[in-house]
Amino acid sequence: MNALDGKTNYFPYLLLLPALALTMLIVAWPLAETVRLSFTNSSLNPVENYVGFKNYIKIFGGKFPEVIVRTFYWMLISVTFKMVVGVAGAMLLNCAVPGRNLFRILIMPPWIVPIAIGVFIWSWMYNGQFGMISGIGQWLGIFAGPFEFLAYRNTAFYATIVTDVWVGTPLVTIYLLAAMQSVPGDLHEAAWTDGASRFYRFRRITLPLIMPAVATMALLSAIWTFNSFDIIWILTEGGPRGSTTTMIVDTFKTAISRNRYGEGAARAVMIVVFLTSFSAFYFYMLSRFAKRALDKTGGKK
């Protein structure tokens, strides 16, 4: 770094050193260690040996590809619902209705309540004998008798998604609400004066202006959902028959429950690879959409 007098100034680099050291310690080193472990047969045995790509070959020879597909499917459905419900919720909370602040507070409990407690409540709600959902379903005549949502592959899969959406939506809503509040009011007033409908104003003013926030939140939400562990673990432990086993659950079972640290590390590395690839693809698509939008407007921002 050059100082005003043209001499190289090393002091700024010195100031960066603590942050760099900390990053190396808490990010780079564990990551490097995970990659190293993934090439070993590390287990409870204090002696570990390098096994090359054996762990990777083994996991791809098993049910792991199925788990990868399931993880992305689970994530896409969950994030889509979170974003749709989040945008709708933010719009409603942005409306000038009486008691708006109260509603803004009331939307937060799913996010505030410790996840374990919230999910445990859901596990009882899904119970056929005592649960509210089955009870209402029977009362409405939808179910002939008690229905156990966590007992079947499909219903368990979607039940975990519903709970994940319940937990994750408040943050999306509040984040997008903040973005909506930053949209200048005079734009809406001008459009309203021109006779634009509420939906038209949302589509042509609000949505384009909050799009950067939506894009950011969608990516963050995707990453959090991809790594969501406690909801599935508490509700189903990955069952029935692996139908709710996502990559993170599979990795935990292998590395922690079965003490196969090498194989678990290989799975963890694959999570990093897939999440990074997904993020890269996401940014690539975003930049393409942004470019197309700019082209449409003749390059004017």
């Binding site: 204090p46 156990e148 079947y152 592959r153 069952g239």
Partner: protein
Amino acid sequence: MKLLKLAAVSMLALGTFSGAQAAETELHMIQCGDNTWGGDFAEKHIAEWEAQNPGFKVNLEYLAWGQCQDKAKTLAAAGNAPALAYMGSRTLKQLAKNNLIIPINMTDADKATYAPPVLGTVTADGQVWGAPRAFSTKAFFWNKDLFTAAGLDPETPPKTWDEMYSFAEQIIAKTDAQGVGLAAASFDNTMHQFMNYVYSNGGEVINSAGDIVFNSPQNVETMAFYGKLASVSQTGPIAYDRAKLGPLFINGQIAMYIDGPWARARLNEGGVNYGVGFIPAGPSGASGTLLITDSLAVFKGTGVEEQALSLAKYLTNPVNQFEFEMAAGLTPLRAVAGVKDMIAEDPTWAAFLDIIPAGGPEPFVTDYVGLQDAINDAIQSVVLGEATPAEAVAAAAEELEDTK
């Protein structure tokens, strides 16, 4: 001057005290749960052992159930093992295979104090790998009021699987309750529940030679019966582990189920009119039960193995162990004198204790979670109708080869 003298004396005293402290060798002991679980007696016994072994101090660390065993294993794998730790006996073979624990050098006289199947829960390759510390068996519970309502004799539980099934059908036909409580969730006690039926039908998972013998006609029969029970059980058994069956039984929603001795307290509290007996026998066997123990494991490489071994043996000697069991409300590991009084006081204990000789151990393998997943998957595949019992058992047996 006086002040200086005082300071010098204090420093000398402090030095002596520190020296005494430094001379004490610490034994790190990990215990699951907290002090309320027989802790007062355990701590009293530890203090007695310390008095008999001057120079050694036990650092007793209580850890939550969900963390204690993982912490002990992780510390051991990292080369910083505790001297001894409370572990599920199911983990001992894995620890032994990885050279992390030492065997408990029991004499024949020591071994003779346990029923052989109990010792089977901690024995592999002819070595005893843990000092049994906690023990449970399972028994068959039935709701006498529902039996009466269904026109069954409330004092006569089913003796065989056929009877159990027909009783269940009768209960469904004549009451609002379901016949049987069935666990098939992806939790460890699903496998435990299934093993009760395996041992009541002459089956095994792994034999004394260490071979996987899961794919047997007896186990196919057991798997078929477990699947068949789903038709007379509460709906969606895959959503239920054993703990969730208790509330159904208390509410009179199921008439029969299998549980441990601890269930009685809740049932008594709930005012349930129930009976406890042996688990009905399958067509190829006699009534049995699953024997589960937790043990004190002595870790290798701590430098205090000898003392840890001595402490483990002291804590689990017949007198101290029974005191601990009574305080913690556990099933007695040995048939000591006090056991007869227990049965006289509460005859329902007989169903849990008299069955011990016919019980089978929790399968002793090196990858317990793998075993549990394989068997649970087989159970779920049959309950969901996605595989025949023979296919499910064969597939599980193949997976189990990787866990022994």
